[in-house]
């Protein structure tokens, strides 16, 4: 029912791949514990260097610091960084979705202000969607900006905000009109300066003991009129478009990849049949997912909006990356290296987030069902 036409990567993209590999080898310390989960490592230094290479905002116009390269080339850079387990968390959101939001909905002034800084790897964004009482039911948000002289006063809070304590800005979905019968009306996207004195950021420890996400409180935060992204009241449609960018990429099936790498290292060049079958099974899934994801990059390049296809890959990919540590742990050889154990344990600890972030499995399956015409 859904088509994922074969797309082969152009020669330019394959040449770029080798450049990215050489860059990573030169930049990552030998003892760095590589983690292919995009959300578990950040390095402003690495992000700046990637920016110098032109590998952030790659598809954007040169006028805003971009490189006007294809979505297929961007695909290659993102998958190479993830597969190598490089710490890409700092710029990831700005590159993947905040920048594209400005390009699609922002004012010329906003584009000039933020995009060049993002492409230099110096300006980081957080996502402001979920609230304490609004998770998958995003339309029930209560943070509200009320009109005041020259702008808006924002009150409320956002939660599960990855990197808010490290990033510069948040694009937040907030109410700019009271809730009404049309639950998707009256919302807007606003830029919040996370350094504002009326913004309070409180870290929340995840079950691995890391403080990656936060609750962010707004207490009469002044939002100047020119910090509204797009049209006031158009927030819901803009967020739906943003989520399309968020779902189709290789980060949706590569989160557990380093576990597979370390497992292959542990079993060596002559695995027994059971180990070989397990590795073969996981690779058959992975290579197929990757091919489907490249197809979606091809659709983006052709100017299509493959939102349902992206949801389908995310759901299949998340199911796969949840499966990887669960079956590998059962075939682990007796004596294993600390590096293998660390990589496996980190993955197991973070795995519950794979099927939550960027749209839960249940929300995605609802979208796919709609695509099948069932709702």
């Amino acid at each position: 029912m859904f088509q994922f036409e074969p797309v082969s990567l152009p020669a330019a993209a394959e040449a770029l791949r080798l450049e990215v590999r050489a860059f990573i080898e030169a930049e990552l310390p030998a003892d760095y514990l590589r983690n292919s989960d995009f959300n578990t490592g950040d390095s402003a230094e690495l992000s700046r260097k990637l920016g110098q290479r032109g590998w952030i905002g790659m598809t954007w116009p040169k006028a805003y610091g971009g490189s006007e390269r294809s979505f297929l080339e961007r695909y290659v850079v993102t998958e190479e960084l993830l597969a190598a387990g490089a710490p890409v968390g700092s710029h990831w959101i700005a590159d993947r979705q905040s920048g594209p939001q400005f390009l699609k909905f922002g004012t010329e002034e906003q584009r000039q202000k933020y995009l060049p800084a993002i492409t230099r790897g110096e300006c980081y964004f957080s996502i402001g969607m979920s609230e304490p009482d609004s998770g998958s039911d995003l339309a029930s948000i209560r943070s509200i900006a009320t009109k005041t002289e020259g702008g808006w006063l924002l009150n409320g809070s956002k939660i599960w905000t990855s990197g808010a304590h490290l990033n510069h800005y948040m694009i937040a979905l907030v109410r700019t009109a009271p809730a009404s019968d049309n639950r998707h009306a009256g919302m807007s996207q606003v830029i919040v300066d996370l350094a504002d004195k009326n913004v309070t950021i409180t870290g929340i420890k995840n079950l691995a003991g890391d403080t990656d996400f936060n609750q962010v409180f707004f207490d009469d935060v002044f939002i100047p009129d020119d910090h509204i992204v797009g049209q006031p009241g158009n927030g819901w449609d803009q967020v739906m478009s943003e989520l399309g960018f968020e779902r189709s990429g290789p980060e949706r099936f590569l989160s557990a990849f380093r576990v597979l790498v370390e497992f292959v290292r542990e079993v060596g060049s002559e695995p027994n049949d059971e180990q070989a079958a397990l590795i073969g099974r996981l690779l058959a899934h992975l290579i197929t997912l990757r091919r489907m994801s490249v197809s979606v990059a091809g659709m983006l390049q052709a100017g299509k909006m493959p939102n349902v296809e992206a949801a389908l890959i995310k759901d299949l990919g998340n199911t796969y990356e949840r499966m990887v540590p669960e079956i590998i742990r059962q075939l682990t050889p007796g004596e294993v290296s600390p590096r293998f154990v660390d990589t496996l344990n980190q993955c197991i600890l973070h795995a519950p987030s794979f099927t939550l972030r960027g749209g839960t499995r249940e929300i995605l399956r609802g979208m796919i069902a709609r695509g099948l015409g069932l709702r």
Binding site: A277, L289, G366
Partner: protein, 337 residues
């Protein structure tokens, strides 16, 4: 798909709609071969689609044949299209004129002995009841014989199509041996490529049937399609169908062993979920012999075991990637395209 392939697929779809309805499949399973269907495919040149013109084929490329096979899978066509096409492809590779009538294929475990007879064993030979010729394939060549007086021993297959075996040490096969480099591996790969396409076609059709059924069937005052539990099951089914189709598209040239291994492993594994979900949403009616769902699911349960189970192909993939090692794992994955 190019224009030629679109034409082949459209023609095949039409023929299967007209001549491969459920009573035809039922009759075939009861022993009455659908000669009308086969003859129509033969007259339109489809039984030799993708086979070199010089060998008497219809011309085109292997992808033409495999796309046609995918349609046969969707239709649960009870005919040896895959077996015939693979045999014809091997004959054409040596410019041998393709004989009239149906050919089936037998992968021989042994080789020629000093007297020129084939020795060894063959298993899982399909359509031995209806084939007029048998192509006996060894690792480095083949022998073509008529299918006359061969003491096949048959096991009833789960799809209604039997698996025939023969002990060539007891029944040596004689005929002109035609050398062909890596013929055995080639035949096995082609066979697996046909099963991947048969399965992908059937799985796509099973998805369509399931969507249709839950949209029509009303329970608790509304169509089943409106229940979230059902919607989520079909979303999973759609994911598996899309993955299988991508695998099938990757093996259309049938010349890359790794792609075939990936496709057979991934598609075979999908059958478990696909048959589970499709039967569950169809309820008891889908468990009846009368309902057309089982024409596909029973074939899926057989095709996943032919030309290597998931595990056999998984081991091949795993060993290949372990040989190059952990540091090269990602590079090898990207090389696979």
């Amino acid at each position: 798909m190019n224009e030629e392939q679109q034409l082949i697929v459209e023609t095949a779809k039409r023929i299967f709609v007209d001549q491969c309805a459920k009573p035809v499949v039922d009759a075939a399973e009861a022993g009455e071969f659908p000669n009308g269907l086969w003859n129509t495919l033969e007259e339109t040149g489809l039984t030799l689609a993708g086979i070199d013109l010089e060998a008497g084929g219809s011309g085109g490329e292997m992808a033409d044949a495999l796309l046609l096979v995918r349609e046969a899978g969707a239709a649960a066509a009870p005919i040896p299209l895959a077996e015939h096409l693979i045999s014809a492809a091997l004959l054409a590779a040596k410019n041998i004129t393709i004989p009239k009538g149906i050919i089936t294929i037998a992968l021989v475990s042994g080789d020629q002995d000093s007297s020129g007879s084939l020795r060894g064993k063959v298993h899982q030979v399909t359509y031995s009841e209806v084939a007029q010729s048998v192509l006996w394939v060894t690792s480095q060549g083949f022998v073509l014989t008529p299918n006359i007086d061969i003491p096949w021993s048959r096991i009833a297959g789960i799809s209604g199509e039997s698996w025939a075996s023969l002990d060539l040490d007891l029944t040596p096969i004689q005929g002109e041996f035609v050398p062909l480099t890596d013929a055995g591996q080639l035949a096995r790969q082609l066979g697996a490529a046909t099963r991947i396409n048969l399965m992908s076609g059937a799985i796509s059709r099973v998805l369509e049937m399931s969507v249709q059924y839950v949209s029509d069937r009303v329970q608790f005052g509304r169509p089943l399609a409106k229940f979230q539990a059902i919607q989520h099951q079909l979303a999973i089914l759609a994911g598996e169908a899309a993955a299988c189709q991508r695998c099938a598209d990757a093996v259309l040239t049938a010349d890359n062993q790794l792609d075939i291994a990936i496709g057979k492993a991934r598609t075979g594994e999908a059958v478990t979920l696909v048959s589970d979900i499709s039967h569950q949403v169809h309820g008891a009616i889908g468990y009846t012999l009368e309902h057309a769902l089982n024409l596909r699911t029973r074939r899926l349960w057989q095709w996943r075991d032919e030309y290597g189970t998931e595990r056999e192909w998984q081991i091949l993939i795993g060993k290949q990637f372990c040989k190059t090692g952990a540091e090269s794992l990602w590079a090898e994955i990207t090389k696979a395209g």
